[in-house]
Symmetry: D2
Subunit: 229 residues, 4 copies
């Protein structure tokens, strides 16, 4: 199974932002997760910021539910919000607790600018644009983590203390969510823009959304590597 099973739009978006995608998906932070060379302090820092990120990420998926145009779109977006808020976030709190980061500490995390830039970009894209703008801005995170998880799991020779992280995103539950998001996006494009959506200027705008969000994801990894900035 390859990441290309995340649908047609994702494949085209990735191809249209090849350099940015490479820098994001093969970032030193990612490689450090895979080969275990990532300093533990950087990982803890990433976990703290990721808690703040998840809140805004869930808000963005909630906005997608508000902007959905079919019951199916609404159900898919609502299911994602539910999973994030009632499953992922409690899980995240648990993982952090094992690392010695209390919930109070998590909630008191000062938001880093790279984090703020990314999440507000996604939310603003959603508010100013429509469901498709949100999907294009959300895709690099969801589907990128899926692709990264799969690749690190496949490479997986090395001992790494981050095996858990890799397994979460390479695991069937997350992979299945990725395939559903990919299918949701393809159907949403078809529903609004017809069969030849990749020929329209609207598509090129969405490619721009995807590319910018990918760059901001890259910035998030870079932030992860500099806990003391």
């Amino acid at each position: 199974m390859t990441a290309s099973s995340y649908g047609k739009a994702f494949e085209l978006w990735r191809a249209a932002a090849q350099d940015e995608w490479q820098r994001y998906a093969h970032h030193a932070f990612v490689q450090g997760l895979g080969d275990g060379s990532l300093p533990h302090e950087a990982f803890l820092h990433y976990l703290r910021q990721d808690y703040v990120f998840l809140i805004h990420f869930a808000r963005a998926w909630a906005l997608a539910a508000a902007k959905a145009e079919t019951l199916e779109e609404m159900q898919a977006a609502a299911a994602t919000v539910h999973a994030l808020v009632h499953i992922e976030m409690p899980l995240h709190v648990e993982v952090c607790a094992k690392e010695g980061i209390s919930r109070d500490e998590l909630e008191a995390t000062p938001e880093r600018k790279e984090n703020l830039a990314y999440t507000r970009y996604v939310l603003e894209a959603g508010y100013s644009g429509d469901f498709l703008d949100l999907m294009a801005a959300l895709a690099p995170c969801v589907l990128g983590y899926g692709e990264i998880g799969l690749r690190l799991a496949a490479e997986g020779a090395a001992e790494t203390p981050y095996r858990n992280w890799i397994d979460t995103y390479a695991g069937e539950e997350f992979q299945s969510a990725c395939r559903e998001v990919g299918a949701l996006i393809d159907a949403a494009l078809q529903r609004r823009l017809g069969s030849n959506w990749e020929d329209l200027p609207r598509w090129r705008q969405l490619c721009g959304r995807f590319r910018t969000a990918t760059e901001l994801e890259e910035g998030f990894w870079a932030m992860g590597l500099s806990p003391d900035a």
Copy 2:
């Protein structure tokens, strides 16, 4: 147990919109549900429009999740969206099926203006305002149905073909949801406006939101009585 267990804000809002509330909560449509005099055709018409309503209502709660300021607010709003989209709506489809209304028919329901006016008012209040504006505009529906359900159940001497409807809203599951929404609202007010929120101009604006939404609920019942308009 009385409706006053839905919290302080609700009690004050209702008191500030006494006439509108009376016309809504004691509407002929409501009385017809209670004593069984409501024509079946009116009920079917109401069910069809309610399907359209529920979609926009779920969108408004999703917007509330996007505009939440605490994890608790987000979880409460997300849980409501989830309940609406994955439980209420399938249930609604089922109830309608028993009445001989197919899902395709439901989805093809032309939206009546009274329905449109109400849902767009709520959504626009949420987009233009903040979480509190949304709560004030959503409260008459949620808490009003709770109050109406309770009252009809208490009066409940008469045989009525609408016993199921009454039981749903008088039932502990819905009543418990009402108490939670009431507590959510009180906490949200306190969190933003402090302990004396009922003395602030902002509160009076919210009373206006609640009153207008109550009038639009009344309009929804009136629409229910005129299936052929």
Copy 3:
């Protein structure tokens, strides 16, 4: 000069909502303006509600400026807001003053439901959708008034006390604004959806927006005829 000079999108929208457009553009209220048979009380009532309408209409054009994707779109929308807020509204206040309606009275006008339904529909379309959704929902008002003004002026045999109203909308200033809005819409469609935008599902959605807004305009005229409801 005919209304067809308002651009291609408008012509297609109108054709796709022929019945609704006929009911709106040839409404008894409109005919009463043209032949002078409209009761003066109805006209005053309309003026009062129109004041409330203009506020929300200006808000919707401001939202269009916020959602614009080019400097030209932003300038066009901003110019409309400016004209509405700094020219139209003061003019409206003046016209009302001549009719004996004070500014305080105008500001205290209770918003009728038909008015609320229309304006919140437009604003919510804009918030949930994008610039095109706003244009489709705003077009029936702007371009419809232009078309109605032109037609009444051309028919213009009868003596009517509403000559001023007709001249305003038939006049070159308003007609030129209409042509600019029509061109803005055509360019916005082309810019996002390419040359064959009328073949896309997105276009059909926009036709739905236009149709619903046209029905709500019709409701506004009907409201005008019933000042005491």
Copy 4:
């Protein structure tokens, strides 16, 4: 005349974000404008990014007009949009032309992340919150430039090639706009939150908005100093 004439809210906001304000208002970029030591290349870079900034800034003020609750608020916000779009931006294009930067070059400016972070933060604050959130997020830019302009003009012994920039913001036109924005904010707070708004939790939230926006302004200056990053 001192910056304290920009109103009560501004004074309190600044006091509550003293360190951030100091870093912003006395940034090396600012000092370089005042004493002429700012490298010309940094200034040109700033001008290019400022063009992109102004577009989003105008969008944010347009959103404020959409979210206004009184005609006065709407007129003030609309007047600002108008000034930005029809006066400031053409002026900016002219200033840039004199510096050898063509309009095409301006429009092709790739948006820097510091720029994106700031503008999306402001817009998202406005979409998710209400008029007050927007004002708190917009204030550091408008009123900060007013304060900086005044101070540099007062210090003004040195020869500096940036005299024009200083004169624009120290000039009566901009200073008068600042005083109006300050008064608009004070009135908007009073209107919603009553006379003791500074005692409410809502006010502390707004202080947080102001502080974050101030930090993002500081980031904008820092970006200005690194044209090649």
